[in-house]
Symmetry: C2
DNA sequence: CTCAAGTTTTACAACGTTATACACGCCGTC
DNA sequence: GACGGCGTGTATAACGTTGTAAAACTTGAG
C-alpha cells in the first residue's frame, strides 16, 4: 500500500535517486525535471519512510521532552512551545512524563530510548548530579528547570534565586514580616533548592529573620501538597502573614486551606505562587505569581538540542530565560473593589 | 560506536541470524547456544536498532495520541493512562496537541505522520464527519470524546447524554428550575452536541422548559470562555439558579464571574462541571463535576488500536466507559463555608 | 566539429534488521 | 544402511533511503 521512491521513479520514468534528490531539494536538478518528478510525487501521494531515512542517516528526527507532569499547565504550555519550535525545524517531539520520579528520570536520562531519539530535553525533579554523570550515551541532553547541576550540559532556566527574591521582596514591600515558604524538597541538600535560597537571601537582606520553622517540606508539588503543608504550618501554632509557594498549584492548595480556616487572603495572609498558570487567574482570589517566559524557554531548549546535534563542538552553556512578577489580588494592599470579603 | 548484530555475531562466532534468533526468543535455539550468544550480547552491551527493525517489520512501535490541549488536566491524566498502557505492550506514545483546531485535527487524521506511527488515538473537537470520511491511510484510528461520528471507527467515550442528564437531574433535585448551559459549540449542528442534548432531554423529561436563551455558545473551552459566557448570560438580564458547564475550566471561569458579581455559589446559583479535574477540588468553592473514568478510557483506547493493528478484521465498535457524578460544595444544599477539603 | 569542463542523472552499495529458503546433522524406520 | 523427517544453524535477499562515484548529457572554446 505505501508508495516508495521506487514507485514514484517508475511513474516519472526516472531513477530512484533523482526522486530522492527532488525530495531533499538537492541543488543539481533542472527545474523541468523537478517539476515532472514533483507531479508524480503529488499524483501518488508519496510520503518518505522515516525508518528507512533514519537507518540510512543515523538520525530519527525525533527529540524527546521529558516532563515531571503534564497536568501542570506550566509544563503543558512549555510543551506546546517546544513542539512548535521543533516543528519549524522538521523535528517531531516525543512527550514523556516522569512523574518527578527518580527512577523514571534515570531511565530517560540513561536513554532507554537511545535508539529512537536524536536528542533529549529533560526537566528533572529528583535526579542527582551523580545520576547524570555517567551517561553512557552520546545523545545530546538539555536540562530545564529549577535544579542546579554542576555538569557539562546545556541548562535553560530563569534565574530562580533572583525570581524568588523578587517575590519575597514584593511581600516585604507590602509590610509583611513573617513569610512562610511552602514546597521545600524533603531531605535534600539545601544548595540545590534555589527558590528557598532566594527566600532566605531576601529576608536576610531585609534584616528579617529567616525562620526555618516557616519552611514546609513536601513530598509532591500538587494542590494537595500545598494544602497539607499549609495545614501543617498553621497546626504548629505559627501564623505567618505571607506565604511564598514553590508553584501555583501549591499556592492554590494553600489558599483553599486558608479559606477553610477563615483566614482572609490577602488581608490576613498574602500569597505568591510561581509559574503563573491560567488557573491562578480565575480563583475567588486571583494569584500573584512569578511568570517565567515559557515560550522562550521552550524555544531555547529546542535550539540548544539542535545546535548540539548539528555541531557537537560548542561549549556547554547555561541560558537565563526572562521572567516577571505578575501582581494580582492575593497580594493586593487593599481589598479589591468588587471582591466580597466572605469569611 | 553502536554495536550491531554483526559485532555480536563475530564476537560469539556465529551467524548474524542466530544472534537475531536469540534476541527475538526464536524457539529453535539450543540452550547452550542461547547462553553463549547471550554472553556476547551482554559483554558488548548490544541494543537493537529500532529503525532497522522497523524498516524490516514495517512497524514503528509508536502510536500517536492527539489531544486538544495538554494544559487541561483531564487530558493530561488521560495521556498518562495511555502512555502507561502502551508501555505495557512495548509501544511508545507520541503526544500531539491540536489546540482543538480543525486544521490541525485534519492534518493529524490525514496522517501527516503516517509513516512514523502505527496507530492514532484522536480526540477531535472541530473535526466533521466528512473530514474523516476520506482518510487515505490505513493507519488504525480510534476516536475519543464527546463528538459523535457516524463512521466505521472505534470510539471510546462515556455516555455523554446520560452523564449530562445525570448532572442536570442533580440540579433539578436540588430544586433548581432555570438551568443554564455554558459551552455550546458556536454554529454547529445540534445533534453532535451530546451534552447540550442531555441538558435539553433531562429538563424536558422533568416538565421544565429548555430555554435556549440559557444556552451560551463559546469559541473555546477554557476558563476565559466560561467567564465571558457567564457574563453574557447575566448581562442579557437572565438570572438562572443553576449552571451546567461543558467542562470544569469553564465552570471555574463562570464561578469567578459569579464571585465578582456578588452572586453566591451554591446559594444563588449552583454549578456543575464536567471532567472532574483536580483544580475543582481546591477553589474557595469546590466544584461538583461529572467524573469520567480516565484510566479506563485510556486503557480501552490503546487496546483498541493494538487490536486493530494485529488483526484488522474486527468489527468497529463503540465502547462506553464508566463515569460518576461527584458532588461537592458548588451544589450543596447548605452554605459552602467551613467545609474541609475532600479528597 | 571536437574535446575538455561542467552539469545533471544514474547505478550501486551501504545502514541493521528479519524472513525465506536451504544445508546440515541427528534420529528412528523400513 | 539408505531414507524421510525433524530440529538447529546459516547464507542471502529484502525493507526504503541516501552517499559515492561514475555515466550521460550539456555547453562553449578552439
Amino acid at each position: 500500500m505505501p508508495v516508495s521512491l521506487k514507485d514514484v521513479a517508475a511513474h516519472a520514468g526516472v531513477s530512484i535517486k533523482t526522486v530522492s534528490n527532488v525530495v531533499n531539494n538537492y541543488q543539481h536538478v533542472t527545474p523541468a525535471m523537478r517539476e515532472r518528478v514533483q507531479r508524480s510525487i503529488d499524483a501518488l501521494g508519496y510520503q518518505p519512510n522515516l525508518a528507512a531515512r533514519h537507518l540510512r542517516k543515523g538520525r530519527t528526527g525525533i527529540i524527546a521532552l521529558a516532563l515531571p507532569e503534564l497536568g501542570n499547565p506550566y509544563f503543558a504550555e512549555l510543551a506546546a512551545s517546544v513542539i512548535d519550535t521543533a516543528a519549524q525545524h522538521d523535528y517531531i517531539v516525543l512527550l514523556d512524563h516522569t512523574g518527578g520520579l527518580r527512577e523514571q528520570e534515570l531511565l530517560v536520562s540513561q536513554g532507554f530510548r537511545a535508539r529512537v531519539i536524536d536528542g533529549l530535553i529533560l526537566s528533572p525533579i529528583e535526579l542527582e548530579t551523580e545520576d547524570l554523570r555517567d551517561r553512557a550515551h552520546d545523545v545530546p541532553l538539555v536540562l530545564l528547570g529549577e535544579r542546579d547541576y554542576d555538569l557539562p550540559y546545556d541548562h535553560i532556566a530563569i534565574d530562580n534565586v533572583a525570581a524568588a527574591r523578587a517575590a519575597v521582596r514584593h511581600l516585604i514591600d507590602l509590610g509583611r514580616r513573617d513569610v512562610a515558604f511552602i514546597g521545600a524538597r524533603r531531605g535534600r541538600s539545601e544548595p540545590a533548592q534555589l527558590r528557598v535560597r532566594g527566600w532566605r537571601e531576601e529576608l536576610t537582606a531585609a534584616g528579617l529573620p529567616a525562620d526555618e520553622r516557616l519552611v514546609a517540606a513536601t513530598d509532591g508539588w500538587g494542590h494537595a501538597d500545598g494544602a497539607s503543608a499549609m495545614n501543617h504550618i498553621l497546626d504548629s501554632g505559627r501564623r505567618p502573614d505571607a506565604v511564598f509557594a514553590y508553584n501555583d498549584p501549591m499556592a492554590i492548595g494553600a489558599m483553599r486551606v486558608l479559606h477553610e480556616r477563615g483566614l482572609r487572603v490577602p488581608e490576613d495572609i498574602a500569597v505568591v505562587g510561581f509559574d503563573d498558570v491560567i488557573e491562578g487567574r480565575f480563583g475567588a482570589v486571583t494569584l500573584t505569581s512569578v511568570s517565567p517566559d515559557k515560550a522562550a524557554i521552550g524555544r531555547l531548549a529546542v535550539e540548544s538540542v539542535l545546535a548540539r546535534l548539528h555541531d557537537r563542538a560548542t561549549e556547554h552553556r547555561r541560558v537565563s530565560a526572562p521572567y516577571r512578577l505578575v501582581e494580582r489580588e492575593s497580594t493586593l494592599g487593599r481589598p479589591a473593589a468588587q471582591r466580597r470579603t466572605d469569611s
